[in-house]
């Protein structure tokens, strides 16, 4: 069973007196959708970057399937807030980027990229240039590009953060659909409380100064969506409102202001 594990990880940036994150452990198994939430400065993006292999922890271990994480790898595809797409390539070529790196033939590349574009509901956008796409479409291309590498894990760094509220709502179901369809493990960072509740199988609440885990939730709403319940019914459920209250309290607990 594939496992992405952060074990008692501390992160210390050069030139800073205090550690950014202290002794945080997170475990993502295949099929999990783990969401990190917390006020700014709690180190959630830093933790994601450790999992991505972009930041080296000062103490503790980061492993994937038992192997230590030392560098970025295509077994952990990252999607960033600013889509980080390549504007000199068409949408299709962006999606096919990982395949091109591996030397997959152009025809096969295009075929698989088109299949992924269909999966994120961008069937006709393959030939479009990146700057011709809306923010939501660009983020879909980013998701499809990450899936093309056939990763075991997806690391999502506020992927919906730059989108407007309506697009955000729709993209939440897209994320869930991709997650159920591809059966990867997801580790995601977000600011959105409702977003965390809708998406996560497990929510890890972090607090700043230094970043540490204060509480863990297992909301279970995403499983209900996966087994066919409509997203509106879920959000209208009194249990959802209750969970939102609890999560909000956990996030702002101990805050002075």
């Amino acid at each position: 069973m594939p496992h992405l594990v952060l074990d008692k990880v501390s992160i210390h940036y050069d030139g800073q007196a205090a550690p950014a994150v202290e002794r945080v452990s997170i475990d993502v198994a295949k099929g999990d959708f783990v969401v990190l939430v917390g006020r700014s400065g709690c180190g959630k993006t830093s933790l994601l970057n450790v999992a991505a292999g972009l930041v080296v922890p000062a103490r503790g271990h980061a492993t994937i399937n038992g192997r230590p994480i030392t560098a970025p790898g295509s077994d952990r595809a990252v999607v960033f807030q600013n889509d980080a797409l390549f504007p000199w390539l068409s949408a299709r070529e962006n999606v096919a980027f990982a395949l091109r790196l591996r030397g997959v033939r152009p025809a096969e590349r295009a075929r698989r990229a088109d299949a992924l574009l269909a999966l994120v509901k961008l069937t006709d956008a393959g030939d479009k240039r990146i700057w011709e796409l809306s923010g939501g479409m660009r983020q879909r291309v980013g998701l499809a590009r990450a899936l093309a590498a056939e990763p075991e894990f997806q690391l999502l760094d506020e992927p919906l953060g730059a989108l407007d509220a309506l697009t955000r709502e729709r993209m939440q179901t897209t994320l869930l659909d991709l997650w159920t369809a591809s059966d990867v493990g997801v580790l995601m960072v977000t600011h959105g409380i409702e977003e965390a509740l809708v998406l996560a199988t497990r929510i890890v609440v972090l607090a700043p100064g230094p970043g540490r885990v204060v509480q863990t939730f297992e909301p279970g709403f995403s499983r209900r969506y996966a087994s066919g319940e409509a997203i509106r019914t879920i959000k209208a459920d009194p249990a959802f409102a209750a969970a939102r209250g609890e999560l909000t309290d956990a996030i702002f607990e101990g805050e002075v202001a």
Partner: protein, 286 residues
């Protein structure tokens, strides 16, 4: 043509893509009042009028300032019959061939050097001081040395122009490389790209707008080095034509030559901007 512009990070690509527009003038086409283009046209007409008038009133001797009409007539004559054994077209082609040969050399050396400066600190340590040394030296200063080392043939002329072009190309490339977004590089790495693949598939295309800006600046620098390069032992070329004419006080050919050089520079600038629009249509739209 300022040399400070390509040492900056290209944070605002759209401004850099249009070196003529200043940051504080908004490009809005709906602005009220007169357009800059109309003012430019009037300025040129006024300068022409003053020129024509002072020639007409003989304020200055025709040896020093021939009339616009005389210069135009000379243009026709030289284009048809030639001056010092070559037609205007042959002079222009000789000069253009030198500048383009130098441009190719400057690209072949300058782009890899710029990549090395931008990517590795060792590369920056090696090439940065060399370029900073080379950059401020006027071509006329190193021309004698180049002739001593490489003789008075064609290679020396091309080399003098290429040296003038090298720094703009290399430094623009380096600044383009330094401006590549870290997120883009991280995205490529997490998709499985090796270091070499990141350079080839992310850094070079990301730096392309900046590299093209460098080529544009380099063409300007090279073109303005032309006269110096054709000082010694040239038999053709616009710079050579001007100098020969000056020695015999054929001022109308001198003025005509200057205008032709200016016109060609204008056309080159226009052409490169067109090429930029085709090759890097995403510049300024990200």
């Amino acid at each position: 043509m300022t040399i400070s512009s390509y040492t900056e990070r290209p944070g605002h690509r759209n401004e850099e893509a249009d070196g003529l527009s200043v940051p504080w003038s908004r490009p809005s086409p709906k602005r009220k009042g007169v357009s800059a283009r109309a003012v430019s046209a009037v300025t040129i007409l006024v300068v022409l009028a003053i020129w024509a008038l002072s020639a007409r009133l003989q304020l200055v001797s025709p040896v020093f300032l021939p009339s616009p009409l005389a210069v135009w007539n000379k243009f026709i004559v030289v284009a048809r019959d030639g001056f010092v054994d070559a037609t205007l077209l042959q002079h222009a082609v000789a000069s253009l061939a030198r500048v383009f040969a130098a441009l190719v050399a400057a690209i072949l050396i300058g782009v890899p050097v710029g990549l090395a400066i931008g990517i590795s600190s060792v590369g920056r340590g090696i090439f940065d001081p060399l370029l900073e040394f080379l950059r401020p030296i006027p071509p006329l200063a190193y021309l004698p040395l180049v002739i001593i080392w490489f003789g008075i043939g064609e290679p020396s002329k091309i080399l003098v122009i290429a040296i003038a072009m090298l720094a703009p190309v290399a430094l623009s490339t380096a600044s383009g490389v330094r401006g590549v977004s870290q997120e883009r590089i991280n995205a490529a790495r997490s998709l499985g790209a090796t270091r070499a693949q990141v350079v080839r598939h992310v850094i070079v295309p990301s730096a392309l707008p900046s590299i093209l800006t460098g080529l544009r600046i380099a063409l300007g620098a090279g073109w303005s080095t032309l006269v110096a390069a054709e000082l010694v032992a040239a038999t053709r070329g616009l710079g050579f034509m001007i100098q020969s004419a000056a020695q015999f006080l054929v001022t109308d050919v001198v003025v005509m030559g200057i205008l032709v050089i200016a016109a060609i520079a204008f056309v080159l600038e226009f052409a490169i901007r067109r090429i930029e629009r085709v090759l890097v249509p995403w510049a300024g739209r990200e």
